[in-house]
């Protein structure tokens, strides 16, 4: 690693398993290793893409970085506590007003009430909800809820933002506005980790890419190099499948 680059998160030989469901009549204590051996650094200010096929362990990796899961093997070192998973509408309560939901959502993401109140105006402004913000959110349309969710997630502004696009963040109508905002954020020297199925998006947005396969890091480096190898890797496996 470059000396002048500061690692925000360092992962060393990280592994994680999920216990398989067990009952009295099938007492096998089997583990499913979602991640086996993952090593990489996330540097300050970069946008890191994570690619890999379904089941490669991408989502699990984000949960580890967010601190929601802990590794069963290896170590994760992070030098900031403000890491959050972009999860829209987390903890939304339908019968509460938009304002109450902003407070609740902010508190759940680890912000103090003062910090939330400071940002309240900006969040309401960006959401474009106007006087609707005082109505209970079960009266909102899907689009309005998505807007509120994104505004909260965007303005809470963590040091490291983890985005899992495979989880279907937001709906199609709001996607454009949120995407623009996301791009702005990414270009503004913030640290972002992006998991996406869209190779085009990764190509466009990321400085570096980590390629995961079967819970292991296959390759990491500048976007161009990794994506080239990844694409040819995908093609090969498609050819394999055809001949099987």
């Amino acid at each position: 690693m470059n000396q002048d680059k500061l690692a925000v998160i360092e992962m060393k030989n990280v592994g994680l398993y999920y216990p398989k469901f067990m009952n009295l009549f099938s007492l096998s204590r089997k583990k499913h290793w979602a991640l086996k051996d993952v090593t990489f650094d996330l540097e300050k200010g970069e946008t890191l893409g994570v690619v890999g096929r379904n089941g490669a362990g991408k989502s699990t990796l984000l949960l580890l970085m967010a601190g929601i899961l802990k590794p069963d093997l290896g170590t994760i070192y992070s030098n900031t506590s403000k890491i959050s998973l972009l999860s829209l509408q987390v903890g939304f309560v339908p019968y509460l007003s938009g304002v109450d939901n902003i407070i609740l959502s902010g508190l759940l993401s680890g912000y103090s009430i003062e910090e939330i109140k400071e940002k309240m105006e900006a969040i309401i402004d960006f959401s474009g909800l106007d006087t609707w913000i005082h109505q209970p959110i079960h009266t909102y349309s899907t689009g309005m809820k998505a807007r509120l969710g994104f505004s909260i997630a965007f303005f809470t502004d963590p040091d490291v933002l983890l985005v899992d696009e495979t989880l279907g963040v937001g709906d199609a109508r709001f996607q454009k506005k949120s995407e623009e905002k996301m791009k702005k954020r990414i270009s503004s020297n913030k640290t972002v980790v992006l998991v996406s199925h869209s190779q085009a998006k990764i190509q466009e947005l990321c400085d570096r890419v980590v390629w995961l396969e079967n819970g292991q890091t296959v390759m990491q480096g500048p976007t161009k190099d990794v994506m080239k190898a990844y694409e040819s890797g995908l093609q090969e496996s498609r050819i394999d499948m055809r001949f099987k």
């Binding site: 899961l69 987390v90 903890g91 309560v93 109450d100 759940l108 103090s112």
Partner: protein, 254 residues
């Protein structure tokens, strides 16, 4: 998480829970009174009238047992499943897991306080006016609160790993319902039955409520002390387990 942020979060989550419960229904807040009243009317008809246990003040005797019991049973039963119920949150944000049972117990406590106030009113209508002994309600209510909280913490820490426990807990609570002296008084028991009966902290608890509200004399401080100590010990144990397994819950909840 700093303590003031923890408390703010608990406060807002409790507020959210109560508010959405009341908004869900047409008669909203009234349910917090109507539901327990209907429920207790059934017990009264069955045990007080049909089975004819009609001693003096049997309805007061029964209600004084039932209302604190329902605070315990309703809160504990829901708490035992609370981690599973909150899995969407647990898989998305990092918060101390003790928050979820705490919020649940507080919600039930709020609803209990309303019903308890109605009970006191009812007793006054029956001619049993509050006496100086009501002061003993303060340590008793606090002890029961911690007892419920402690039991909730311990149970909810285990249940996600073994969903069978949910059924076992429901059966145990049903058993305690009949063995804690809600329908009868432990004072009438003799020999081994009496010894066994008083091993149950909930029996002491119900007896203490009756001492204060019905007989109007001071309750046994030992019973209250046992309730409180067990609650605090369970609370620390449960808190320890919830912290220890904090990162296991997102793994096992599917």
């Amino acid at each position: 998480m700093p303590i003031n942020r923890y408390l703010t979060l608990v406060f807002y989550l409790t507020y959210a829970e109560l508010k959405s419960e009341s908004k869900k229904f047409f008669v909203s807040y009234l349910w917090w009174i109507v539901e327990p009243v209907v429920n207790m009317a059934v017990y009264y008809v069955v045990f007080g009238v049909l089975l004819n246990r009609g001693t003096d003040n049997y309805i007061a005797f029964l209600l004084i047992g039932l209302i604190p019991w329902r605070w315990f049973s309703a809160a504990v039963m829901q708490s035992s499943m609370i981690i599973g119920q909150q899995k969407q949150l647990i898989k998305r944000v990092v918060v101390p897991k003790t928050i979820f049972p705490t919020v649940n117990v507080l919600t039930h406590t709020f609803k209990f306080v309303i019903v308890f106030a109605v009970l006191v009113l009812f007793l006054m209508i029956l001619g049993m006016n509050p006496s100086i002994h009501y002061l003993a309600l303060i340590p008793l209510l606090i002890s029961q609160f911690f007892f419920i909280l402690g039991v909730s913490y311990v149970l909810c820490s285990f249940v996600p790993f073994m969903m069978d426990l949910k059924l076992a807990i429901n059966s145990a609570i049903m058993m305690l319902f009949f063995l804690s002296g809600i329908f009868f008084s432990g004072e009438n028991l003799t020999g081994n039955a009496r010894t066994l009966f008083y091993l149950n902290p909930l029996a002491h608890m119900i007896e203490a409520y009756r001492d204060i509200l019905l007989k109007q004399h001071w309750p046994s401080s030992l019973g209250i002390f046992i309730l409180f100590s067990l609650g605090v010990v369970a609370m620390f144990l449960g808190r320890f387990l919830l912290h220890k397994w904090s990162h296991m819950y997102p793994k096992v909840l599917r």
